[in-house]
Amino acid sequence: MRFSTAIGLSLALFFLAGAPPVFAIGAGEALDDPALEQRAREIGKSLRCLVCQNQSIDDSDAELAQDLRRLVRERLSAGDSDDAIFDYVVSRYGDFVLLKPPFKPATYALWFGPGVVLLLAGAGAFVYLRNQSRRRTADADLTEAERQRLEGLLEDD
């Protein structure tokens, strides 16, 4: 196998491996009404499958995910709003079931943490760089006595 072919193949494999998984939604599961089914997909994409944890219930083949997909569709068909469905699932499984964490006091650290760290690091870098440049200008300004001493040293050689 030529080297370039090998590279090409491994790249192809790499991207295939990273491709999003095919939806696990089985035949006969989808709703007939395309608008409702669209809402069901949106909800399913944002609910975590607690068995596999890093997959949404739409992506997961776990039985519990399948049950939850069915539950979402039943509630939609019964006329529930999206929020009512999210509220129900969160009331049973907690905020962790939401793949996008909610914005509330308990999650402020999560939402603001990275910004705070960035600000602190930026402030640290600013102070450091300012000190550096100040030291450099300080180095450049020799007093009269220092310059004479320096010249004396150089001439000694």
Binding site: E63, D67, L71, S91, R92, Y93, F96
Partner: protein, 178 residues
């Protein structure tokens, strides 16, 4: 503190804080999701019996005394691990144990209970798994301690071990009764 000292202490302090936070994180188990149902009344339900002659189980049965509700299934391997302990709770009359047979074939469940013993004072069959979802069940076995007023006091995820029983569950039963 002098600036030169601060330049040494600050990075070490930041490292220590980050290391401590990550260290605590290592001791947590992401498979154990805290239940939002603690201190809430048990979800309303009424389940048919697993056997034809049994009584079934309803939320109204979980009032008036401290009880343990155990979700089990014949397909659940780790349920077999904790099963002898549940038998003991019943044999030694420590706490009434109620069972919910989750997403299971009743015939399989009966065979399973015949082989391993049946500790359940009452048990209901939740074939569709809907009642389990109402309780926030996401993997078996799961057990719930219910207080006298029918509120969920504690959720145990995974098989109950001897140590869980001695360190957590039995003391909590005492406290709930106290």
């Amino acid at each position: 503190m002098q600036i030169s000292q601060l330049r040494f202490v600050l990075p070490v302090a930041v490292f220590a804080v980050v290391a401590a936070a990550l260290g605590v994180g290592l001791t947590l188990d992401p498979k154990r999701v805290p239940s939002p149902l603690i201190d809430k009344p048990v979800p309303e339900f009424s389940l048919p019996p697993v056997t034809e002659e049994g009584e079934g189980l309803a939320s109204t049965d979980l009032q008036g005394q401290v009880t343990l509700v155990n979700f089990f299934a014949s397909w659940c391997v780790s349920c077999q691990v904790e099963h002898p302990l549940l038998n003991r709770l019943t044999e030694e009359d420590i706490v009434p144990v109620y069972g919910i047979n989750w997403k299971d074939e009743p015939a399989n469940a009966l065979r399973w209970l015949k082989a391993l013993g049946d500790p359940y004072a009452r048990k209901g069959s939740d074939v569709s798994g809907r009642v389990g979802i109402d309780w926030g069940v996401y993997g078996l076995p799961e057990s719930y301690l219910i207080d006298r007023h029918g509120r969920i006091a504690y959720k145990h995820i995974g098989p109950i071990t001897e140590r869980d029983l001695d360190n957590t569950i039995l003391p909590l039963i005492e406290r709930l009764r106290g």
